[in-house]
Subunit: 160 residues, 6 copies
């Protein structure tokens, strides 16, 4: 399978925060942001593999700063790592004050998507071609996160 | 007031079409697309003037091709022309088949926004700095559209 | 094909503006009103032709006055003109203060819909029967708008 | 307080059923219809009393026929009876097949609204002026329903 | 058909009231609560009969107290009575102040659901097994309400 | 500050999956489930501390099985650990086939919430009283996850 570059699937989504989107503290409701993050992560994963994808896990999503009503929300996502059937997508969220243009880092998340075929079975994705030092470093850290995730799984046996 | 460049406020929004978004023919509902177009146009206008804006009119919005469920929708918007208190924003919508990457031109619209101050009165916006031939041509056509709009108004007396 | 009268498809929609519907200035969000306008225009077009319709264009939509939260919104729509496969629908929006009953003209739009058959191809619509002088005048102006639209198209070559 | 006529507040709402609105059986979700019914009933009550109103009870709402996706939904509401601070509003829902124009009776409901002042206390509403025999009969039946409701309350002591 | 107990289908739904959910008086919009009530009642009915159900009527729904923005809403529902093809579900709504834990009774409703087969025809449901005195009393009152409903129907001839 | 028990804040939310909620593969959209998970986690955290809370992070959320349209979704959440100002909430999602009653484990997530005062500053929460061996074990694992999270943070320096 022919590889694809990080830049081939990188995507930007822009939103504004309406009264409809805020929680009871006047800031963007976490669940709404999660909705956008998952939608954008899925677009990047689909653009990389050109197959149907499903969200497998969300890892280490941190809300750094609240997003206020009226703010412009800029959500960027790209692929860090492609395994045999799974892809790690990084999503970064920046908020922008529309009156001043001042930007604030608000959220970062790592999501894992799996490509599935028409029977719902996982299937292969194209290898990832990294071109810059930064992309190589991100792929390296993604591999480490993957190991932490596996180690971490031992602390949370899936049986319940 | 210091001018701003076209590239200072240019914005991209990416969406996917969910079952939630389609009409009874399995294609993106026009009203939903209008919602996104107006939201994005407003972001561009706010980024140009850094003031509160309201939509004044929508001019010559054409739906060229239907957008199918599952398609990725790429909406790009930029400012064509800044008057004293109003701005013409052009919005172009492209749909992308997520399985093949094939792109289709689906919609173009011209929206006029007016900047308003805290009392809801219209107020001045920064002049637009055009840098390329294409930007200059777009500004020229926007001025002609403005005249057509005024001529056109005579055919639709506002009294009703 | 047997003609249909303007009054056969004329329709009224009434809505109220909830907190859910307002933008950051406390007035009805433009995109929400566009959603209602397109939905109502589509009902009128379907009632005229009793076929599936799609929105082809929105022409000269003007927001005359803001609609405040709590206002009752009265949206009226009727057909002005029927071509071979397309119909021009006029939509007028009035807002009503629920505490005083005072009414304000807030928006007018002209939308063009095309009837489509089961293969998604455009198909014929019934001729429009005009009965009053006002209806005749509206049909006449709709024809002129159609010409302006065509002339206008030359200022915006569709290629991009 | 000057009385108001039934026709002064009678209101029509028209909607279409989108994929977004149907339940898992392909028919309009009951909860969505209730949402529209309550919104329209509230408009009629506000138009009668020109005061803020809250829903007090819903009585004998019957779903007679399912509404299919794509159907046009015509919701009509008017006031049957005005007490000192409460109003009974009748809401009738008709569905229309957009391809044939065939209409079906689908739902009828009786809702009671109470007018409230700025402190949230119930306050007086204008008397209802009935003009036709049908309006008189509806007012009479509304009074009987009110008595049934009170008798009925004894079967359901409110303490829980 | 083997009977099922009241406790087999009893269900709890918890929600919070977001800005998105309130009306213009800052309290939960009635239509939104109706949406939740109907959804939960349908779950209980489906759990009792393990068949598709449709809402047939809503009887004597009373809003006792308003629910404020930020409140936690606890909705409980259980089956009171099973006829041959229909089931009466009781729904009780309690609001909880999240800052103090204080609870308020806010709404009670009785909904009737009918089980339908794949052709949309009504079909049999399992008999209800009542185990406690309270359950027996509720079943008894449900039967009386059923009679009132029938008597009540004579006051509202269904023809319109 | 007086401690609170795990059972004092444990909460259950029940939902059904409507056409409105599914993605393009006919299964519940991940972003919608995230919305519900975050809403429920916030209720549990508020019930423990009786203060305003904000989502700080989502850790190790795994989607084990897809949820199909029509399924009943049972979401349970409880507190595992209370630090000085933060709380770890565990959320478990089970789907239920409404026709057979068969249940499937579908998702587990660990969310961290922080209590904030009126100035938006973090503030103290009541200590957690664990009563059973299972609760003690969960608290222990939550502490270990907290350490993993901190170790993990070194792999993802927050600067970007």
């Amino acid at each position: 399978m022919k590889g694809r570059k990080v830049s081939d699937s990188r995507t930007i989504m822009t939103q504004t925060v309406f009264p409809n989107d805020v929680n009871n503290h006047g800031t963007l409701y976490g669940g709404r942001l999660l909705y956008w993050i998952d939608a954008l992560g899925g677009i990047v994963a689909e653009r990389h593999c050109r197959k149907t994808v499903v969200t497998a896990s969300i890892d280490s999503l941190n809300f750094l700063n609240p997003i206020r009503q009226r703010d412009i929300v800029i959500i960027e996502a790209w692929i860090n790592y492609a395994g045999r059937t799974s892809m790690e997508i990084e999503v970064r969220v920046t908020s922008e004050n529309p009156m001043t243009g001042e930007k604030t880092k608000t959220c970062r998340a790592f999501l894992t998507y799996v490509a599935i075929d028409e029977d719902g079975k996982s299937c292969e994705v194209p290898p990832l071609i990294v071109e810059t030092d930064e992309e190589r470093k991100r792929m390296e850290l993604a591999k480490q996160r993957r190991e932490v995730r596996l180690r971490d799984l031992r602390l949370r046996p899936l049986e319940w």
